[in-house]
């Protein structure tokens, strides 16, 4: 299955929470790397990021976003049938964070709750998963919590965020369209190689060394092959977007906004230019909020489009891509949905 359509699923609302703590990629970098950091920041387009303090986790941010969203929707917690987390920052390796949140959010024990292990590509996949449960008639109301706590001071890309999206059964809802893909041959492009069963943690992985910026690094760190990720993103995403539009018979003019995963400026601008999209239809939050992994679509919708999407009907194309490798696109009509302002916690 590459492309599919879901019916009877209404996009009811979305809320986004980021940590209060602002980290400046140039001013807060060690003086000895500031010149090279200036060049890097110009090219990745990320000036500030939001980083969780040590005590704060993804689920803390998602909890705040969910509470605010449910309050603004005026939904009864007893009506929630499913709580799906899409992300890679669990509170514990096991059990699943969604189950812990079922209790913390005081949702009924009849709630379906589990986690899905996807990163930057995750939002369209999560929408498809929860949407499928609703479209089948199996459940009526569900929550999708997407995001990560991937930010670290030493790496200039990632920023933390937790988001909540509410979907409900509605026979009058416009269809949602999807194009979803996976390519496991590229699994080494972005990975945390140590700590799973292929390579369990050994004491040698823990021995840190200082890099040129004075930051401690070890075998426990994320490994990212920049050129491979760039090639994947700029070669796979534009044809996937064109392919979904062709499949549903829509022109680019019929889409009000194209929201892409906020990877970095180089990748995002290349994708935008290859698809020949005007800047005003492609909102960005890279400058202030960095790469928020799977949360970047909700973050960008909340920060750049919430006033627009809360009134009238708009059609958005949502495209996530990254770790896996995995890439997915959704076309969603949003009609008078609930969009609280960005929450800082």
């Amino acid at each position: 299955m590459s492309q599919c359509t879901l019916r009877n699923v209404r996009f009811a609302g979305m809320a986004t929470c980021v940590p209060k703590r602002v980290f400046h990629n140039i001013n807060d970098a060690p003086p000895q790397i500031r010149s090279e950091r200036e060049r890097l920041v110009r090219n990745i387009g990320i000036y500030t990021r939001r980083l969780c303090p040590e005590w704060q986790t993804f689920s803390d941010l998602a909890f705040e976003a969910t509470e605010k969203l449910l309050a603004d929707l005026k939904w009864n917690k007893s009506d929630i049938d499913a709580l799906i987390i899409v992300g890679q920052s669990p509170d514990y390796l096991i059990p699943a964070t969604a189950i812990i949140l079922q209790d913390r959010l005081q949702l009924p024990q009849t709630t379906i709750a589990y986690d899905v292990n996807l990163g930057c590509s995750g939002y369209p996949f999560g929408l498809h998963l929860l949407g499928s449960m609703i479209a089948s008639g199996a459940i009526k109301k569900g929550l999708l919590l997407v995001g990560d706590r991937a930010g670290e001071e030493k790496d200039p890309l990632f920023s933390d965020a937790g988001t909540a999206t509410a979907l409900e059964f509605d026979p009058n809802a416009p269809p949602m369209y999807f194009d979803l893909n996976s390519d496991g041959s590229g699994y080494k492009a972005i990975m945390l190689p140590v700590g799973g069963h292929r390579e369990p943690v050994h004491i040698s992985h823990l021995i840190p060394h200082r890099d040129e910026g004075g930051y401690w690094r070890s075998g426990m760190d994320l490994v990212l092959d920049g050129p491979a990720v760039l090639s994947f993103s700029t070669q796979r995403v534009p044809p996937a977007v064109d392919s979904l539009l062709a499949h549903v018979g829509m022109s680019k003019d019929e889409i009000d906004y194209f929201v892409f995963h906020q990877a970095n400026r180089m990748i995002n601008e290349t994708i935008r230019k290859k698809l020949r999209l005007p800047e005003e239809k492609v909102p960005s939050t890279l400058h202030d909020l960095g790469n928020t992994s799977g949360a970047s679509l909700p973050v960008t919708m909340t920060v750049r489009l919430s006033d627009t999407l809360a009134q009238g009907r708009h059609r958005v194309l949502l495209c996530g891509f990254g770790i896996g490798l995995s890439w997915g696109t959704a076309i969603v009509d949003i009609d008078s949905a609930v969009f609280p302002a960005l929450i800082e916690a």
Binding site: R39, L230, P238, D242, A246, S251, D253, T270, L275, R276
Partner: protein
Amino acid sequence: MESSSRADIPAGLIASGRLVLRISTGDSTLVTIEQFIEQFLSAVDFQEPVELKPDTKLSDLPEWDSLSALATIVLFDTEYGKVIVGPDLAKCGTVRDLYALMG
């Protein structure tokens, strides 16, 4: 698919000059090595200016790094319509080798 999508761009945007596009010619033979050096320097965006000759060794450039590699991949894709990957760059010793990747 890309060529058919040009019609989707509102004419007003193009006329107003607000829409800046780099449309690849796909014909890299039009680019001289001098032009390539100019475009390459603009793409890699070094902090410290350097003078490049065709025989300049990439390893002699202090800022020839992973960011430069990404910028060069984007340059080839968007300006010359040529897909290159990380290992292609790793094989290049000089600026002339990079230019030859247009092939």
